[in-house]
């Protein structure tokens, strides 16, 4: 069935958030669906780390300000950890 627009948007948002956190906050890519629950807590933790770095409200949720920051053009070097 055609995906309802909001569900599609939600999918895109989750994709944006995951790829941003993988690229810049060392979020490990979870490929095993059964660890999804743990993955979500892990994702919220990383999201808080990113919100903390940028001085955003630390909610652990992809709110508007957080998504706006994630869409800004930027340097490809991670904000935490080494880049070698």
């Amino acid at each position: 069935f055609p995906v309802a627009p909001e569900a599609e948007d939600e999918g895109k948002t989750l994709e944006l958030v995951e790829s941003y956190l993988e690229n810049f906050y060392n979020l490990q890519q979870d490929h095993q669906p059964h660890v999804r629950k743990k993955g979500e807590n892990h994702l919220a933790l990383k999201l808080k780390e990113m919100q903390e770095f940028f001085g955003l409200q630390v909610t652990g949720k992809p709110d508007l300000d957080t998504l706006e920051m994630m869409k800004k053009p930027r340097c490809g070097v991670p904000d935490i950890g080494q880049y070698v």
Partner: protein, 365 residues
């Protein structure tokens, strides 16, 4: 700092430009990279020598998508470039995403700004959370002619390589913090119900309905405006804001800079002895605008579009406060004058100062 505190063991480093993007003239690319290197050599003992046909410490190249360093680029926008911390081989190298719109000005992405940031990584710096720092991860445009390395970046790089060998140590702009009690302002104006506080290359934006104060670069909204705006006022009737720097002024119509500006302030009727305006506010109930210069002020009639006769007058004669005014704005029938970290609330009807506050009283600190 980067984990492990990587740094170059010597101060005289080499760099090589491996290739060029066709989007800019080669000479402009060379100039942008040279200027980016000087940003760091000006504040440290580091020197950078360009080499051609051999391995250099810092290899600078334009790269496309997956360029075999395990960090593929992502096409236009998104990731603009990356660089590697000091070390052998790929260490210190700068990779620039070929697919971006590289320019030498404010359109697209300014190559100088991005390379200067990446070279910070090549020298051992990581990202800064100071939104005004060069090492802040997100891109923001600054006119290369006006660029000054922020103090946050100077502190960082000097902690790794020490101070520059010059007699006078360079200092840089510090990002304004809304609740810093020592905060002073260059200019303040209302803008469609908001209040805009100008400071250096920043503007603090206070919306009555929002608790937080938003800090932005002036160039984020108005790339054509210079930093260091000295006076500003809103003409509510005409939905315009006039912004002053030295003997020029710009007009903001709605949210855009009107074409044909800047113009000379002498068009408004100032004598040539006036070189700049310190502060200004406009009273829509009377159609009069007040310009403050040193210890005197002029009054301008917005309807007749000319200066009123009998001016300038002494500020102290009519506003009850001595000394100069840094900034001023009118809100809800009161005029707020700023001098240093002090704010005076003036009642134009009673013609006297009725309140004294800190400069940061508007920021809910």
């Amino acid at each position: 700092f980067t984990a492990g505190n990587p740094k170059w063991k010597r101060n005289n480093l080499t760099y090589r430009i491996l290739n060029y993007t066709p989007k800019m003239r080669q000479a402009d690319i060379d100039e942008a990279i040279q200027k980016a290197l000087s940003v760091w050599s000006n504040v440290t003992p580091l020197t950078f020598q360009k080499v051609e046909n051999k391995e250099a410490d810092i290899m600078i190249s334009f790269a496309y998508r997956d360029h075999r360093d395990n960090s593929p680029f992502d096409g236009p926008n998104g990731q603009l470039a990356h660089a590697f911390q000091p070390g052998e081989g790929i260490g210190g190298d700068v990779h620039i995403d070929e697919e971006e719109d590289w320019t030498k000005d404010g359109i697209g992405y300014n190559l100088f700004i991005v390379v200067a940031h990446e070279l910070g990584h090549s020298l051992g710096l990581s990202h800064s959370s100071d939104p005004g720092a060069l090492m802040y991860p997100a891109y923001s445009y600054t006119d290369p002619k006006e660029f000054l390395l922020p103090q946050d970046d100077i502190d960082g790089i000097q902690a790794i390589y020490g101070q520059s060998n010059t007699d006078v140590q360079p200092t840089g702009p510090i990002t304004p913090q809304a609740c810093n009690p020592n905060l002073t302002f260059d200019a303040i104006t209302t803008l469609r119900g908001e209040i805009i506080f100008f400071k250096g290359r920043y503007m603090l934006r206070k919306h009555p309905a929002r608790v937080e104060t938003e800090l932005n670069f002036i160039s984020l909204f108005w790339p054509k405006l210079p930093s260091g705006i000295q006076a500003a006022y809103e003409n509510v009737e005409r939905d315009e804001v006039l912004l002053f720097k030295e003997n020029k002024y710009w007009v903001l119509r709605g949210y855009d800079i009107a074409p044909g500006y800047p113009k000379s302030i002498y068009h408004l009727g100032f004598p040539k002895t006036v070189k700049r305006v310190n502060a200004a506010y406009s009273d829509e109930t009377t159609g009069k605008t007040y310009f403050f210069i040193a210890d005197r002020y002029w009054r301008y009639d917005e309807n007749k579009r000319s200066m009123d006769h009998g001016y300038p007058r002494k500020i102290v004669s009519d506003f009850g406060k001595t000394g100069r005014v840094d900034a001023a704005f009118l809100k809800d029938g009161y005029v707020y004058f700023f001098h240093g970290t002090t704010q005076f609330q003036f009642d134009p009807h009673a013609k006297r100062i009725i309140g004294l506050m800190k400069s940061i009283s508007w920021f809910n600190c």
